[in-house]
Symmetry: none
Subunit: 165 residues, 4 copies
């Protein structure tokens, strides 16, 4: 069931390789996955910027939703994040290798909006981005509720409304 169904012996056998060769290059099963996952996952991150904050946010959150729920990489990500709950070292590795880059993309629409002057200079980017992507991750990892366009729309609208004041 999940990661423990994926044995090192099976990986080696499937690769037509001795176990030792695996151990020579990776310290653990999760490291193998992390390496295999990071490359194609990072390539899927979109650095687009249309100049329209609402549009950018909706597109970005939609892409994030699709990554998490529909892509193979997203499935691996969930598996790794799951494993990381029991393994702080893995958690750190995921952050360094993947989450940091993903985070930059998450921040991009906000940062660009600040540069444009659409948002005030003193905006707390971190808190805002967490408020935008947090609900997405929550539904994926915890509640299992579906990520509908309406939900994404609601997140973005609440955010935009909150900064109108």
């Amino acid at each position: 069931m999940g990661l423990q169904a994926l044995t090192i012996e099976a990986i080696a056998a499937r690769a037509g390789v001795g176990k030792q060769t695996i151990y020579r290059w990776w310290a653990s099963k999760t490291d193998v996955l992390l390496d295999a996952f990071v490359d194609d996952a990072l390539s899927g991150i979109d650095p687009q910027d249309s100049g329209n904050l609402e549009k950018d946010l909706r597109r970005h959150l939609t892409n994030l939703s699709k990554f998490l729920t529909q892509s193979d990489a997203g499935a691996v990500f969930k598996a790794l994040i799951g494993q990381a709950q029991n393994d702080p070292q893995l958690a750190e590795k995921i952050r360094v290798r993947f989450t940091a880059s993903q985070r930059q993309a998450d921040c991009l629409p906000i940062v660009k909006a600040i540069e444009r002057g659409d948002l005030p200079r003193k905006t707390d980017v971190d808190a805002i981005v967490d408020s935008l992507v947090g609900p997405i991750y929550y539904r994926v990892l915890v509640s299992g509720a579906p990520l509908t366009p309406a939900f994404i729309k609601s997140i973005v609208e609440h955010f935009l409304a909150s900064i109108k004041t």
Copy 2:
């Protein structure tokens, strides 16, 4: 490292019990944990209501943060949620046994505010609650960023600002 360091044999030995007795009553290691966890976790949920939405939200989110980061039950919850990423059946069990109740408590401040007339009848409770608790879970499960009072304050203020319009 986490759940696989907790063997059934150790559980049985520690309980002064034969392995078979564990297997007789629980189908898996996670079921044992789920049973042991649910009782004391649910008891920690607070149904308080002061009549002040902002105050209630901050208190509730603060309690949630403490549960997730500082309590034993929270640690078990993280481990279970982690395992659930590889195991849809476990995910479902967690929702039925625990998340559902937790969710009710999460919704309470909003529901009460609606009853009071502080929020409009047509408020989408689910989307709003996800937006409030989502960022908390995100930091705990994914980013590892700290749950400061300032962060909680920021979440609540953005929400309140968004509904002022």
Copy 3:
């Protein structure tokens, strides 16, 4: 495989009886078998005596052969004797409950012949009987060689020849 495939739980279940009821009356699995076996095994022993030593011996050894190789009781006997190699107490019980009676029957032709005066008074009955039945048991328990009429004839003839001198 043999006796350890016959579990107490299976015996109890097959008899529609609680395990405790078995344990109340028998101390061990072999005791159950011993009881079940002794009755019908003893009833098969023939105390006939025709007055003709050769004829009696051949008939007796033939019967013994059939008992050991063709009857259900013989199969149980082999199983019990097998178990007894590892269990002196069982060995003793088998002797008291069964082998002793069997032995009397084995001795009968010789004893009768002595009474008749066909054999000298000082005949060592035990040694002679062992020499007669020993080869039979040897083939059954050890060598697996078949118990042909010719073999039985050979045993008897050698014995009769040996006492002619």
Copy 4:
């Protein structure tokens, strides 16, 4: 109590070896014993031949008695033969690996005597050897009666007397 007191786990532990290593090389507990037993048991078989049939037979039967009742290998042999009563495959293995060689030694005095001309060419070696060793095995495996020099002497004398005619 015998073989079931000798667990695979104990064998492995005593050998400072993982259980798997045992299972890799032997299919069952009895196979382990058989291998361990055969080597030193075969080495104890004596191919001596003095040219005197009576002397050779007495010496051989005496050695056989000592092997069965006084040596460690004899104890293992009895345990294996016991187990073999419930396990035809084991019975066959014992015959191939051990009994066959033992049998050759058992036959030797008779065969040599025939070569010497002390016994007729048409002698039925198998039947005779069974008659000689059968009583020994019978006392060991079934009756438990002691193997005295007098008993062995009686066996040999009866045999020699029977061929005098």
